[in-house]
């Protein structure tokens, strides 16, 4: 048993940043164990993304190819990866923590009697794996203690991709053909579609005032709307506000909503669960107003005001109006 497998997610040949971060996490493990990193691509036409992956400093690329893998299904991916893992016998399997991986990796690990360490933000000596607890308020340090492969999925943005150290020569590309039958795939996925037509493009907004659970009631939204108007900012929200129907879904920032990177992101009453942070931590300046000094939003904020938003927000709106005169 040896080697580190990194599953690279591709959609229509395109590889998202989080997959390169998973490769970086695999390299971090390799630095500890000295074992080679092998990238794995799953699909029916993976030739061109495989060539792209092969330019990275890794030992090998395996294309797991089958016509039944053209569209993602949990059944197809689990069967294919199970066969690959039994064939390769790796010590570690690293995956990007995407919605797709969340859908199949826990079952894949369980099928092999293993447990996925999900949503990992750091890898320490041992190795030990850090993941967040209590919505990001605490960290948990996890250890794997079985003789089988250790499954790890890594959080978006947690591992830095070193573009500089490109490979000297492209890695070898091999193909693995799993045995799959149509009858083994129990669900039928439809084509992805967009939700409602987007009328707000938060992605290009320069200034954003964003509101979270701390606002308590729908009626209180006028407070933050007034602040946004005074600033000339777009109004956005964290998921619970949109779940309650207080603001339309298209104003949601986070992993399930829009990703934004404005000059100013002013978070009001948002505790900063990771699902929200991944959608806004690229902002140039983050300001947080929250009553809880331990709220994880302060881990990414440049400026913070610890206090009651119902007092701070009106005072801030007034101060901005005065400054604008």
């Amino acid at each position: 048993m040896s080697g580190i497998l990194v599953v690279v997610e591709q959609r229509e040949g395109r590889i998202a940043r989080i997959s390169w971060e998973a490769v970086a996490a695999g390299q971090r493990l390799a630095a500890q164990t000295g074992e080679p990193v092998t990238a794995v691509l799953i699909g029916s036409e993976t030739e061109s993304p495989a060539a792209e992956v092969a330019t990275r400093p890794i030992a090998r690329v395996i294309r797991v190819e089958h016509p039944l893998l053209a569209h993602y299904t949990a059944d197809g991916f689990i069967l294919a990866l199970q066969q690959l893992i039994e064939n390769e016998r790796p010590t570690q399997v690293v995956l990007p923590h995407t919605y797709q991986v969340r859908d199949y990796a826990p079952a894949l690990a369980a099928r092999l009697g293993e447990v996925l360490i999900s949503d990992v933000v750091d890898i320490g000596d041992g190795p030990v794996f850090t993941r967040q607890l209590m919505q990001g308020r605490l960290n948990g340090i996890y250890k794997h203690q079985s003789s089988g492969p250790c499954f790890v999925s890594v959080q978006a943005g947690a591992f830095r991709v070193e573009v500089a150290d490109a490979a000297t020569a492209p890695a070898t590309i091999t193909t693995f053909a799993p045995t799959l039958e149509a009858g083994q795939i129990r669900s039928k996925p439809g084509e992805p579609f967009r939700g409602s037509t987007q009328t707000v493009d938060l992605g290009s907004a320069q200034l954003i005032v964003s509101v979270g659970r701390g606002i308590k009631e729908a009626e209180n939204l006028t407070l933050v709307q007034e602040l946004a108007t005074a600033l000339g900012a777009e109004l956005a929200a964290s998921r619970p506000i949109c779940d309650n129907g207080w603001l339309p879904m298209e104003r949601q920032v986070g992993s399930s909503g829009q990703t934004v990177a404005p000059k100013l992101y002013l978070a009001v009453g948002i505790s900063g669960a990771i699902q929200h942070l991944v959608g806004m931590k690229g902002s140039q300046c983050i300001v947080a107003i929250n009553k809880d000094p331990d709220a994880p939003i302060f881990e990414v904020a440049d400026y913070g005001i610890v206090g009651d938003l119902f007092e701070v927000v009106p005072a801030l709106t007034e101060a901005i109006k005065a400054a604008r005169q």
Binding site: A74, P106, G136, R186, E250, D292, L316, A319
Partner: protein, 256 residues
């Protein structure tokens, strides 16, 4: 349709968390506990399916004695009966260990559908439902916002990243993990609270489910997170802090 909803009791999200003396978990004294939010949406989806198609909603939960309260609340909202797996070592079980308990209890009921929230607010593993499906040998789908019953099974609406969705056709029995926001949550009525007291809660123990196994993954210790940025906290009264922030927005961030 016979629907099992697996729910978890979690610490109230506004609680101040302290690491316990051993550094292995949080100090649970003085903590308030509540129903995990996405599990509340799973329960709501189950209740709506029952209202449309008839059948039965069974709440399933594992944990220490205090989970009885959360189970009663689910019964008050309209679940028909419950299964309470007494288990004081939930914290030292890994996701597979917890899923084994739930799957063993669910199997005895031969449900048409097992629903649960997509992840818990305390551990946030987001795996339990998927592993339960694997252990029961059932198809599954995750991050589901809407469930429609068809002649042969289900059509479910799955959330993808960045505002995309997908419909999936699948047979029953099946396991679904429910995303928040698909429905509006109901409150328990006074009548519901009264009725809940007479509803059946079957008590099971982890030992009698025979689902013991050494954990594969262990939580070794709990620590405080590192700050990614050094936040400059602006002190003073709301008015003073607001004035200080306006200065920063004007001269440092330059957006005013």
């Amino acid at each position: 349709m016979k629907i099992i909803v697996a729910i978890k009791q979690v610490p109230d999200r506004d609680a101040q968390f302290r690491i316990d003396a051993a550094g292995k978990w949080i100090d649970e004294t003085d903590l308030q506990f509540a129903l995990n939010e996405s599990d509340a949406y799973a329960l709501e989806e189950a209740l709506q399916l029952k209202e449309k198609h008839g059948g039965e909603v069974i709440v399933l939960s594992a944990g220490p004695e205090r989970i009885g309260q959360t189970i009663r609340e689910a019964l008050a909202k309209g679940a028909d009966r419950a299964i309470n797996i007494a288990c004081d070592d939930l914290g030292t079980r890994d996701a597979l260990g917890v899923a084994r308990l739930l799957a063993a209890a669910a199997k005895q009921e031969s449900p048409d559908l097992v629903l649960t929230g997509l992840q818990s607010e305390d551990l946030g593993l987001g795996q339990t439902g998927v592993i339960v499906a694997e252990l029961l040998g059932l198809p599954h789908a995750t991050l589901i916002l809407h469930v429609e019953k068809t002649e042969t099974g289900l059509i479910v609406k799955r959330e993808l990243e960045e505002g995309w969705f997908q419909e999936i056709e699948m047979p029953t029995p099946a396991v679904l993990t429910i995303q928040s926001g698909g429905n509006k949550l109901r409150y328990a009525t006074l009548m519901g609270i009264k009725k809940a007291k007479t509803k059946e809660v079957r008590q099971l123990s982890a030992a009698e489910l025979g689902a013991e196994a050494a954990p594969v993954v262990v939580l070794d210790r709990v620590t405080l997170p590192h700050k990614q940025k050094s936040t400059q906290i602006l002190p003073g009264s709301p008015k003073e802090a607001a004035a200080a922030l306006v200065e920063k927005l004007k001269f440092e961030v330059r957006v005013l």
